[in-house]
């Protein structure tokens, strides 16, 4: 356990603040949230991604991650979540290296669409105001968002994820202390 870094400094208010940012992010897709209270997560975990898991994951939520043994040990200790090897059986997924295949993840059922996975992806950059055009629930007219570090075919995968509504996964993008949520209802168009 040498070198295990701390989680939230003050767990109750820090988790609440993080959750409110998440709730706002999910309710207003594409708006960039900056998390203030962050845990000291081991590399390669982005502070925002680590904060999301500390806020939402516990013994009831199987987590999948590709972030390596240091991150796994940190999550096991601070969140107490079981870690699984199969992306398809996870409730939360943290992708630090690349994007798992969206169709291989738990998407819920027509009767229980809430039993779907939440995918947290670490990206290189999140900038509001330019780039993609986002529309859908939570967005008054359109939100603009520039994301760096997602693979080429992502927009096509995202469109097919939205096409199976109400089934589908929800996405959270994290870069440093920044966070954007994209629920399955958000439609994305390439900047024209």
């Amino acid at each position: 356990m040498n070198g295990l870094t701390p989680g939230f400094a003050d767990p109750v208010p820090d988790a609440q603040a993080c959750f409110r940012a998440l709730l706002d992010a999910m309710a207003r897709p594409g708006r960039v949230q900056r998390l203030a209270a962050l845990p000291e997560a081991p590399a390669p975990l982005a502070p925002a991604a680590a904060a999301v898991l500390l806020t939402l994951a516990d013994a009831e939520t199987p987590v999948w991650t590709d972030a390596g043994p240091a991150a796994e040990e940190w999550l096991r200790f601070h969140a107490g979540c079981p870690l699984v090897a199969e992306p398809g059986s996870a409730g939360f997924l943290l992708a630090a290296g690349g994007l798992p295949t969206l169709t291989a993840l738990e998407a819920g059922t027509e009767e229980e669409p809430h039993r779907s996975a939440t995918l947290i992806v670490q990206v290189a950059g999140l900038e509001p105001g330019e780039g993609w055009r986002l529309t859908g629930p939570g967005i008054e007219r359109e939100h603009r968002l520039q994301v760096e570090g997602l693979p080429r075919g992502f927009l096509a995968d995202w469109a097919s994820n939205g096409a199976r509504f109400p089934r589908g996964i929800d996405l959270m993008l994290c870069a440093g202390n920044r966070l954007v949520a994209l629920p399955r209802t958000t439609r994305i168009e390439e900047a024209g």
Binding site: Q16, A27, R28, T61, E111, P137, P166, D170, P183
Partner: protein
């Protein structure tokens, strides 16, 4: 100062996490009912336990809470819930709609328009809009999965055939995001249009039925109707006896035992603000 011996916001952190996960999925699928584990509260089911559980999972030390019961800030239910959160979360409370960051409500939407950054938490007695038409939960779940809402349209049609109009004055069913049939909780049908594309986030908690659902900001909420019988919000045809408003929703108050009655705003903050403005102008 928060009460000693309780976690911040009364609920333990495991319960809050479970409710928070349910809330996020509820926002992701607008109008869909997400089951959650309703914990025992220091007040009985039917007094707003679902709304309290949602508020407790959302609220932080910097929030300012307003609680209304049928539009009023000064009724027993509203006062005790406000005191409860002042005690277990140490938050500031207010009666002004514009100053609140979280508004917990029983059966009304404030007359003053809500803005971004505010959260409206509804107390819901029965989350299933189809329960009077189909008592089997397994069956209603399948109807929601298939978006098969013909039964509700038949009910509205039968109302029109029998009474000439849709005879639902409160808890009027709505379609959220063009997909899910949703109970707006027993708010008057008059309030339904306020839900449509509201800038604030709307969260619904049903404690006894253990369901959470949500409407994200700027999401379409359409009251069910027919082309030849469009939805019409109903309001008593009178001005408020105290502030003179012709726009607000009115309560009918019996004032003596000879049949005397008066109509007053159900939203006390709205009415008081208007009265104060009128006095200031005189």
């Amino acid at each position: 100062m928060t009460a000693l011996g309780y976690n911040f916001g009364y609920l333990d952190e495991n319960t809050k996490r479970m409710i928070r996960r349910a809330l996020l999925k509820a926002v992701a699928v607008p109008g869909h009912q997400v089951p959650f584990g309703a914990r025992e509260m220091p007040l009985p089911y039917g007094w707003g336990t679902g709304g309290i559980a949602v508020t407790a999972s959302v609220i932080g030390a910097g929030d300012r809470l307003k609680v209304i019961d049928q539009g009023a800030d000064d009724t027993t239910n509203a006062v005790s819930i406000r005191r409860f959160f002042a005690k277990v979360a140490g938050v500031e409370t207010t009666e002004r709609t514009g100053e609140a960051t979280i508004i917990q409500t029983r059966h009304r939407i404030p007359e003053t328009g809500l803005r971004e950054g505010q959260i409206l938490v509804y107390q819901v007695p029965m989350p299933e809009p189809l329960f009077r038409l189909e008592p089997r939960v397994a069956e209603t779940r399948r109807m929601h999965a298939l978006a098969d809402y013909g039964l509700m349209h038949v009910k509205l049609y039968e109302d029109i055939a029998r009474h000439g109009h849709v005879a639902i004055s409160y808890n009027y069913p709505v379609l959220v995001g063009g997909r899910y049939l949703m109970s707006p909780s027993p708010i008057p049908a008059f309030d339904n249009p306020k839900m449509d594309r509201m800038p604030a986030l709307q969260l619904f908690g049903a404690g006894r039925e253990k369901r959470i659902y949500a409407v994200p900001p700027y999401t379409s909420v359409k009251s069910l109707d027919f082309e030849d019988h469009p939805f019409r919000p109903v309001r008593a045809d009178a001005p408020c006896a105290l502030c003179g408003s012709r726009e607000s929703y009115l309560d009918e108050v019996v004032v003596d035992d000879k049949g005397g009655r008066m109509f007053v705003c159900s939203d006390t903050d709205y009415c008081n603000t208007r009265q104060a403005a009128r006095e200031a102008a005189e």
